[in-house]
Symmetry: C2
DNA sequence: ATTGACTTTGACGTAAAAGTCAAATTTTCA
DNA sequence: TGAAAATTTGACTTTTACGTCAAAGTCAAT
């Protein structure tokens, strides 16, 4: 156990470039260890990268992703900050709910397009 | 009926800038009429803008949005193209399903964060 | 007729998120 | 140990989706 991942193992697994992972390190999102100058990724880093990429897929900026990571790393202790965080969470939640709705609507439209295609195909050549 | 919308009416309604709408026109997404040089938007344009912005919210690029619009404007008639389109639709569908999953997972995490905040707030100051 | 609000065009600028390239190291392993 | 393969750093470039002027035109109302 306690395996190390090389940078290219991870780039292959996740379909990103080394530049991307180095960029995320420069931006303070990940902190792989070093042996000499070479980066060594542990599975905690790997999981973090998975979360970063998930954030990326749903349109979070690097700054937003960093913010989320930092909240996880050290949650605020003071009441005012906690309330502020909750407000921000609420905003994000609304944004994501909107996005989900947008996606569902678009999925429906894609369904219609597909159906129209099938109908049209059936009309034209009644084969495969 | 058959009302015209001015550009600023629409920018106010949708919270975008005039630059954005002009940009969408330059990119061939919308084609408002003109009286002289002034743009006149009909409700068809308005609806189209709504769809463009929905596409934008879920992370579609201008090129993708344009492609979708064009498919709606003149659907392909030839079998090969229809099949190609269906393949592209299928890809989009998978992408959106992934994105929806990402969003749902993130919403759950936000729920956890919120709960943690509430717990912590209760621990600290047993007030509002 | 003039003020003020709105609009257009065109050119240039910018921020985010990497991509690309070159040169220097470092590691691997035959 | 020596060559090939992988990695790092740093600088520069690119793409997307607009933002930001500036200058000029338009239109309605006073």
């Amino acid at each position: 156990m306690n395996k190390y991942y090389t940078i290219t193992e991870l780039t292959r697994e996740f379909g990103v470039s080394t530049r991307t992972l180095r960029f995320y390190e420069d931006e303070g999102l990940i902190h792989p260890e070093r042996r000499g100058r070479t980066r060594l990724f542990r599975s905690a880093d790997r999981r973090l990268i998975m979360e970063i990429l998930r954030g990326r897929r749903i349109g979070f900026t690097i700054a937003e992703i960093r913010e989320i990571i930092q909240v996880y790393r050290d949650p605020p202790g003071e009441a005012g900050q906690l309330r502020l965080l909750m407000k921000r969470v609420e905003e994000k939640r609304e944004e994501l709910n909107q996005k989900r709705k947008d996606i569902e609507e678009t999925l429906e439209e894609l369904g219609n397009v597909e159906e129209a295609c099938l109908t049209r195909l059936a009309e034209i050549g009644v084969g495969t």
